[in-house]
Symmetry: C2
Subunit: 223 residues, 2 copies
């Protein structure tokens, strides 16, 4: 996919494509990178998601809205968005990062999502950025169940299985990559009775387990 | 000042004035209050200020932009904005809060500023909210000196006086109000050689001192 097709896939035609290119440039690639626009994008995503939640849940308190937003806008969920829209293939990384698998690192992916949205904001204003936020996060917003949104994926999966009298899921680290200070863990989650195997990646074993559980939980709900 | 005049003073004519009224209603006044719209306003203020800083300081890193924003958008600075635009006179408070001086409490004032901006956002969109943020915070943004913005007001005042070989300022608590869990401190800052006396209020002695120092520092700069 070339960068124009990528831009269309997230739902925005950039008047200034150089903004998109910069938003996809990691600091390891050079001085002209996405760090400043990511600062901007972070605030735009938080504002656009706040507005969606405010309208969608007129009965929730500000504390509940804040908790729902924290579940939607965090490194893990944004990295998951990046994987779905294949941000990794568009990233410009330094040589070292390319070799060490930077295009799969959750922090780099999540930052790129925020930066790309920040670039839309600069290119065409808040409403355009809000549309892209809807494209990227709309499914996650639609899927919110306020009753369960405070719980982490491992808890949700376990409760789902227990409610069906099934055995608990099994987690195992299947790979670790990268150097000590920036390790990436890959964890497999197995639910034998549902024939589910999912893989999650994260910068800690715990976050990789949560990501694997999140995918297994989605598969289990579809079962 | 009636509420329409107040709305004009912050630079917005509300199509739905009931949004403004709710934004000025503290939870002590009833169930229909400003807490949800304050959640929204908080994110709008952060986003609008991020955009201003991004354009104003093209050479600063995201860490420096983030630090500048934290200096502009915090309880103390927003409460100071509220005092300048006389938000206190417009607040709807419960009886207990009226009696205990809630209309002067920094947390209530700062929340009201965010809520009123959130209400503009709901009433007329992001650009309208951004204009009001400029009206309310523009002076503070214009006054930013990136070299000094990491320092707190007491430090700035002390350095200013030391640079002129003057005696250090003296701080004294002149009043405390409210009950133990929600006390309000008033601190006086005196700079004898410049004939400056300033008063600061805050929920802790430390924050009241900083506010008093901030005012004294501004007076000292004008000297």
């Amino acid at each position: 996919m070339d960068i124009e097709a990528f831009a269309l896939s997230i739902g925005h035609r950039y008047a200034r494509p150089e903004l998109l290119r910069r938003a996809l440039t990691h600091r390891s690639h050079g001085a002209s990178n996405n760090e400043r626009v990511e600062f901007l994008g972070d605030s735009v995503v938080n504002c656009a998601v706040a507005l969606e939640l405010y309208h969608k849940f007129p009965d929730l308190t500000e504390g509940e809205l804040s908790r729902l937003r924290a579940n939607l806008v965090n490194q893990q969920s944004l990295a998951s968005v990046a994987r779905r829209f294949d941000f990794g293939a568009q990233l410009l990384l330094g040589e070292g990062e390319v070799k060490s698998g930077g295009a799969r690192r959750p922090s780099i992916l999540a930052d790129a999502v925020e930066a790309v949205i920040g670039a839309v904001f600069l290119d065409a204003g808040f409403e355009a950025a809000r549309r892209v936020v809807r494209t990227l996060l709309g499914d996650a917003i639609d899927a919110i169940d306020p009753a369960s949104s405070g719980k982490d994926p491992k808890t949700l999966l376990q409760e789902h299985l227990q409610g069906r009298r099934m055995a608990l899921p099994q987690y195992a680290v299947v790979a670790t990559r990268g150097e000590a200070h920036e390790q990436l863990f890959e964890v497999e989650c197995v639910v034998p009775e549902l024939n589910i195997r999912s893989l999650g990646a994260g910068t800690s074993r715990r976050s990789a387990e949560q990501e694997a559980a999140r995918q297994a939980y989605e598969l289990a709900l579809g079962n």
